[in-house]
């Protein structure tokens, strides 16, 4: 168990390092330095600037400086606005985290409920409807859904204003982000719930005369949840990448829209910093999922 966790942690660290290397060297591959594209400062100014940002040193040294700064939480400054990237992330991330967290929560809860209902009422009309809707939901990209929701509810029906920072306006972005993972969790829960319901321990519990709801919640659902845990990592990745465009569409000032605007502005250091930050979140989440999974389900092989 301990060895398994150590192995996962080492793998996560290597992954982050690889991402850092990819980010750094790809950014370095861009022709023309960060000051070349600006209003061409004089040679003297350029030299001072390069010295200040360590650009006069060899690339590998720059990389180590970058890693060192990064370990100190310093992601550099934005090329366009000159603000510290760490500050920008600190300001905008809470909004995104709130949105993403709500979407993940909604997706998990609704998915578990729908999946259990579909499994318990197998082959009924309710089951068919749920299967139909989830199949359809997995074919709609989040940005299409977000734009359609915006078009229907904000512009045509005018039920909600496009965006203001109150709670009720999280509804549309959360729907747009959570529909796909919700559908996926529903399908996953249905399969594992059906599997659990067919197990001997459920039959034993039923034979003992345990109340129906108790069998479902205590015996079946508890075991059916385990495979869903493995989906937490991919779900967060989906919500994270989805939120990049969804925030942009609903003009929410989170990290996602900052990232998208830095792409359109070709603000390289900002792109680099945000990519690193988001990657670390994703790698950490995957790591936690793996560890939790191995603790929750003692049956899985730790190799």
């Amino acid at each position: 168990m301990f060895r398994y966790i150590v192995k996962r942690v080492v793998l996560a660290i290597v992954t982050v390092f690889v991402i850092a290397a990819i980010t750094f060297f790809t950014m370095n591959a861009i022709p023309g330095g960060p000051f070349a594209s600006e209003k061409a400062p004089s040679a003297e100014v350029q030299r001072v600037l390069e010295e200040r940002y360590n650009l006069d040193k060899p690339v590998y040294q720059q990389f180590f400086i970058y890693i060192r700064n990064f370990l100190h939480g310093d992601l550099g400054v934005s090329l366009k606005t000159g603000r510290s990237i760490s500050t920008v992330i600190g300001e905008s991330f809470p909004v995104s985290a709130k949105l993403g967290g709500m979407a993940a929560l909604v997706a998990t809860i609704v998915g578990l409920v729908l999946g259990s209902i579909a499994a318990l009422k197998r082959n009924s009309i309710i089951d068919r409807v749920i299967v139909f809707l989830t199949t359809f939901a997995t074919a709609v990209p989040s940005f299409v859904l977000a734009t359609i929701l915006l078009s229907v509810f904000c512009l045509t029906l005018k039920w909600v204003p496009v965006w203001s920072a109150t709670e009720s306006h999280y509804v549309l972005p959360v729907i747009a982000l959570s529909l796909y993972p919700m559908a996926y969790i529903t399908r996953l829960t249905k399969t594992s719930m059906l599997d659990a319901l067919g197990q001997d321990y459920v039959r034993t519990a039923n034979a003992k005369g345990v109340a129906g709801w108790k069998v479902i919640f205590k015996h079946a659902l508890r075991n059916a949840v385990i495979p869903v845990i493995t989906y937490v990592g991919p779900m967060l990745a989906y919500i994270l990448t989805g939120s990049l465009v969804v925030e942009n569409i609903f003009t929410i000032g989170g990290l996602g829209s900052k990232f998208v605007s830095s792409i359109t502005n070709r603000d390289y250091t900002m792109i680099m910093g945000t990519t690193m930050f988001l990657s670390i979140i994703m790698v950490t989440m995957n790591l936690l999922t793996d560890i939790i999974y191995s603790i929750v389900d003692p049956r899985i092989k730790l190799d």
């Binding site: 980010t23 790809t26 990209p141 299409v144 465009v245 988001l278 994703m282 790698v283």
Partner: protein, 367 residues
């Protein structure tokens, strides 16, 4: 024969033996009755002999969802192949009437004609109807959707084939060789697997956009744009790991199966084992996985195009069309709906087809 048997070769029976006493039976010709035609027919194999492929296709055709998705895909394919030959507009062409650019043909509704076109028609000229109207730059929207679908589908299929080739090679090498090579190769896969792919794609698209621009200037590739090339590069770099894992897993499990051992014991050569035992058992799984890769690649492409990191400007893709529709969302919502519905239809069809293929062709699911 029988008579000879009776007299010469019948073994002598011991008194205590439980063996049937053949001497008691009559082996002469007239003791036998010829089988009637009906009796003979009972020996015939009732169903025609079937191959793995035929059997799978039969099952697939019985699946209504799979058949429906094949019909939808064939329909879409037919439209995008035929339409550019029928519709006299091209995806980047600004509508012109009688050789003159028509500035009034902006944002037309479906089947609506512009003022200049109406005038021209009144004079007896023929104008091809704008089935889905025109966009803000006076271009025929239908043909743009057709080309967008072409681009999206082509990207999806090409990216999947790329993933298939790299994954197949890597996975089979790793699976066959085993041991230390396998260990190292799989650790590399583990690392790539945990990279946040979408972020890396965005990053590379931004970077390669600058670096590749000069390299592809003037070639046929420049029409697609650097973003598409970087998308393919990223697919080649990152997305094959899932396929490699699948292929390796397949080969490992099949390699250790009893029937492979049995074939080896009876002296089958490696080539025969691969051809007869390993390939038929993993081809279907790999094929299905490739079919399911297509919608995922289309998703990625449309997502990037939506971010403005997709195909280069005049060339449309379904994602960039949806993105462009956002500007006039209030007045022309159908310009969003059309590409959105096409994306969903394609993705849905591929998903359902993939599921159907799995049910029909996966040998492990056979009842």
């Amino acid at each position: 024969m029988e008579k000879q048997l009776e007299k010469d070769t019948l073994p002598k029976k011991s008194v205590l033996s439980a063996q049937i006493n053949l001497e008691k039976f009559d082996f002469s010709d007239n003791a036998f009755e010829k089988a009637t035609e009906e009796e003979k027919r009972q020996q015939d194999v009732m169903s025609e002999s079937t191959t793995f492929f035929k059997d799978g296709m039969k099952k697939l055709m019985k699946n209504p969802l799979a058949v429906m998705s094949i019909v939808v895909l064939v329909f879409i394919l037919a439209v995008i192949v035929v339409a550019p030959h029928v519709v006299p507009y091209s995806y980047s062409q600004i509508i012109s009437v009688n050789g003159k650019r028509d500035k009034t043909a902006k944002n037309l509704k479906p089947f609506q004609y512009s003022e200049n076109e109406l005038k021209y028609m009144a004079e007896g000229g023929k104008v091809f109807p704008h089935i889905m109207g025109t966009d803000a730059q006076c271009r025929d929207y239908f043909i743009r959707v057709v080309y967008g679908t072409r681009v999206s589908l082509a990207v999806g299929i090409f990216a999947s084939v790329l993933v298939l080739i790299i994954g197949l090679l890597y996975g089979s090498i790793s699976g066959y060789l085993g041991g230390k090579v396998d260990l190292i190769m799989m650790r590399i896969v583990d690392i790539i697997y945990s990279l946040p792919d979408m972020l890396v794609i965005i990053l590379l698209s931004v970077v390669l956009d600058e670096t590749l621009k000069a390299a592809i200037e003037g070639t046929a590739l420049s029409k697609l744009g650097t973003n598409m090339i970087s998308l393919f590069i990223v697919y080649g770099l990152l997305y094959w790991v899932g396929m490699a894992r699948l292929v390796r897993g397949q080969i490992l499990t099949i390699k250790n199966n009893e029937y492979v051992l049995a074939a080896k014991t009876t002296g089958a050569k490696t080539g025969r084992i691969i051809k007869k035992h390993i390939l038929p058992n993993c081809v279907s799984v790999i094929f299905i996985s490739t079919a399911l890769q297509v919608p995922s690649a289309i998703f990625t492409e449309s997502y990037l195009s939506f971010l403005g990191l997709g195909v280069a400007a005049p060339m449309p893709s379904l994602g960039s069309l949806a993105n462009a529709a956002r500007e006039g969302l209030q007045s022309y919502p159908y310009k969003l709906w059309i590409p959105a519905v096409v994306i969903c239809l394609i993705v849905l069809s591929f998903n359902l087809l993939g599921d159907g293929l799995r049910d029909a062709f996966d040998p492990k699911l056979k009842k």
